[in-house]
């Protein structure tokens, strides 16, 4: 149960696509890789449509990424949350602060609009 991380730079955006499970075996790797992408004023579109499982360790990684992005005056949005990942993020209050979009294309359009 590994995770794949594909990163693409496009039109000033960083698009990162995760595929797999965000759990205690993978969260550290994801956090380390995505932290590398965060810089001053970065715009990160995190495509989660391939993530079918998230545990609290994965949520913690997302929270730390969010905080670091804010610290650097950047913006991060999540796209394509699968039903149960959405559910888990909803009941833990993560959707109160994370911006989400149904698809990666909508995320790319949304992140350049004023929030």
């Amino acid at each position: 149960m590994d995770i794949a991380i594909a990163v693409e730079e496009k039109d000033g955006l960083t698009i990162a696509m995760l595929s797999g499970e965000l759990n205690s075996s993978t969260a550290e790797q994801v956090q380390a890789r995505l932290l590398e992408l965060i810089g001053p004023g970065c715009k990160i579109v995190l495509d989660m449509s391939g993530v079918n499982y998230i545990s609290s360790v994965g949520l913690r990684a997302l929270l730390l990424l969010y905080r670091e992005t804010m610290r650097q005056d950047g913006r991060i949005v999540l796209c394509g949350l699968t039903e149960m990942v959405y559910d888990t993020m909803f009941i833990t209050g993560f959707l109160d602060f994370f911006e989400t979009f149904a698809t990666c294309a909508e995320g790319q359009a949304g992140i350049v609009r004023p929030s």
Partner: protein, 138 residues
């Protein structure tokens, strides 16, 4: 009754998840209930490894059983890390806090306990026994 005995390490957690997923499938749980059962056992097992065995410098097992009754699936996790009742963990009070104020941890037990139809804990014969119950008909 199915059972498996795994080492109390982070590397074993995918096997914990696979065991619970099989039990959920046999029980005919829908995807939603199956996910929540797996998440609950994963969270408590992760805590047993990280906050139990590893913190105490102990080695031990994660022993799992799954039992089907007519209307329920019951998964029991037994482990011999220091006694700890997850129900004693206060529920997070800060789920509506802004992200810079909320603590980074503490969500695992909350997700586990709120996700299953019933949870029970007992300390028996030197083991933490965590019981997770999901109703088969909901």
């Amino acid at each position: 009754m199915e059972s498996v005995c795994l080492p109390g390490t982070l590397e074993a957690l995918p096997d914990v998840g696979a065991f619970v997923a099989r039990a959920a499938q046999k029980a005919g749980l829908d995807n939603h209930a199956a996910y929540k059962l797996r998440l609950a056992v994963d969270e408590i097992a992760t805590n047993s490894v990280v906050h139990g065995y590893d913190r105490a410098g102990q080695e031990g097992d994660l022993s799992l059983t799954a039992e089907l009754t007519a209307d329920r699936v019951i998964v029991i996790l037994r482990e011999s890390s220091p006694p700890y009742d997850p129900r004693q963990t206060p529920p997070p009070e800060d789920l509506d806090q802004p992200p810079d104020r909320r603590p980074a941890g503490g969500l695992g037990v909350y997700l586990a306990l709120q996700g299953v139809d019933a949870f029970d804990y007992a300390y028996r014969k030197g083991q933490n026994c965590h019981t997770f119950v999901m109703n088969r008909t909901s």
